[in-house]
Symmetry: D2
């Protein structure tokens, strides 16, 4: 796992309540990890989701493709990595999670659209913050 290949990298760790009856992180929780990573990336880029929301702009997930490669278990730490591309009015987040020993956990592409008062926008606020104009 080469962190220089990514634009943003967030170390995280599994919390025990995220483990399900199979002894692994429940499949839905990875979407939480990925969302949290995107939001931390945005925070670093100077974007406040609460401010966006007050301004009537809501980035929403339009599409998610997730490949589950190796499950996270109790007590494990992981690195959540992110790249971003702009594609028309949408943003593609390429998000990979690795265990700290480098084992790939999940490979995801999350497509985000920017909704403003119920309508799809070109997401200029995000594009500027991400230097993707």
């Amino acid at each position: 796992m080469d962190s220089s290949l990514y634009r943003f990298v967030l170390p995280m760790e599994v919390r025990d309540y995220e483990i399900d009856y199979q002894g692994i992180v429940n499949n839905a929780n990875y979407l939480h990890y990925l969302e949290h990573t995107r939001h931390e990336f945005c925070k670093e880029a100077g974007i406040s989701f609460s401010k966006l929301h007050i301004d009537g702009i809501d980035p929403v997930v339009a599409r998610a493709e997730l490949e589950y490669l190796s499950p996270l278990k109790m007590g494990e730490s992981f690195i959540s990595c992110l790249n971003i591309e702009r594609k028309g009015p949408k943003f593609l987040f390429f998000q990979d999670i690795y265990k700290t020993d480098g084992t790939p956990v999940i490979k995801a592409i999350i497509t985000v659209a920017c909704i403003e008062k119920g309508r799809l926008t070109r997401g200029e606020v995000l594009a500027t913050a991400f230097n993707l104009t």
Copy 2:
């Protein structure tokens, strides 16, 4: 929305705690809805996940493709629909959610693999229960 096109249909409703700050169901919760639907389908087919787990067999999500079409909001009801196909050692669940007025909410393909003591199996137990042998 034509429920005769699906093998299994489950009416559900949004619970208020599933709504996030944007006033819509958080993207991760749809994976909960879809998992719950699969498990209810399995229960109807005579499969007990807890019994499988005790026997060392764990169906796990290997891949998820989710297209978010229209967000669910507070107080809304929906229909969670399911079809299934076998593809090699894996099971493909075609899962669509519609609002009760027919508006498509999500279109998903969830690939499930059967793990037995840490190894991928051909999932014969599931295949038999689903009449997919």
Copy 3:
């Protein structure tokens, strides 16, 4: 378990994703069950939480006392029961959960306060709907 002792009764069932690594419903999920029960009770009483929220009124949990008596497990069904009392500006929800065989699961007292634009109100809207004036 005598349902005539309660003002509102809601049959529910455990969803598999609510089970944690110990094979029982995680302690936090009971607060979800209890909240969902209160909201369904309110819906029946003609109260819409989303409308209240738009009107600037937000009922919030001020206090919770939970006695965990017997854990819910995979595949179990349960009955979520509710009584309500008014106490000054607050509402006390006496909420008990039983397995369908009558085994007590949880005994809770949830105190709810009504916040309007950041300030505690006397909750007249709720009191009227609940016939507790």
Copy 4:
């Protein structure tokens, strides 16, 4: 907020997916914060919950008393503080959460019992690790 009054202190931050439609952290999520804090405290004391579980020992929440003092909002950081006392066969966790500016968020007493193969034990494993024998 004087951290020297506590035996264990964990800095955490709100994740956006924990916020509900009211714009505040949903009441159930505080139980997640408190559980995560107890488990981190235990980890520091050399206790592995996954090892305990494999050994057939499961600490479970027997009682929870939560006073919600001031809600956490989007983007806020907080300090989760813990003290512990032994009371017969049970452990009492006194858990307080404060915003980083010192505002009290929640005041909780969580009673934990140690179950071994379905029966209440005196929790000697935990007591030894916590120096509470």
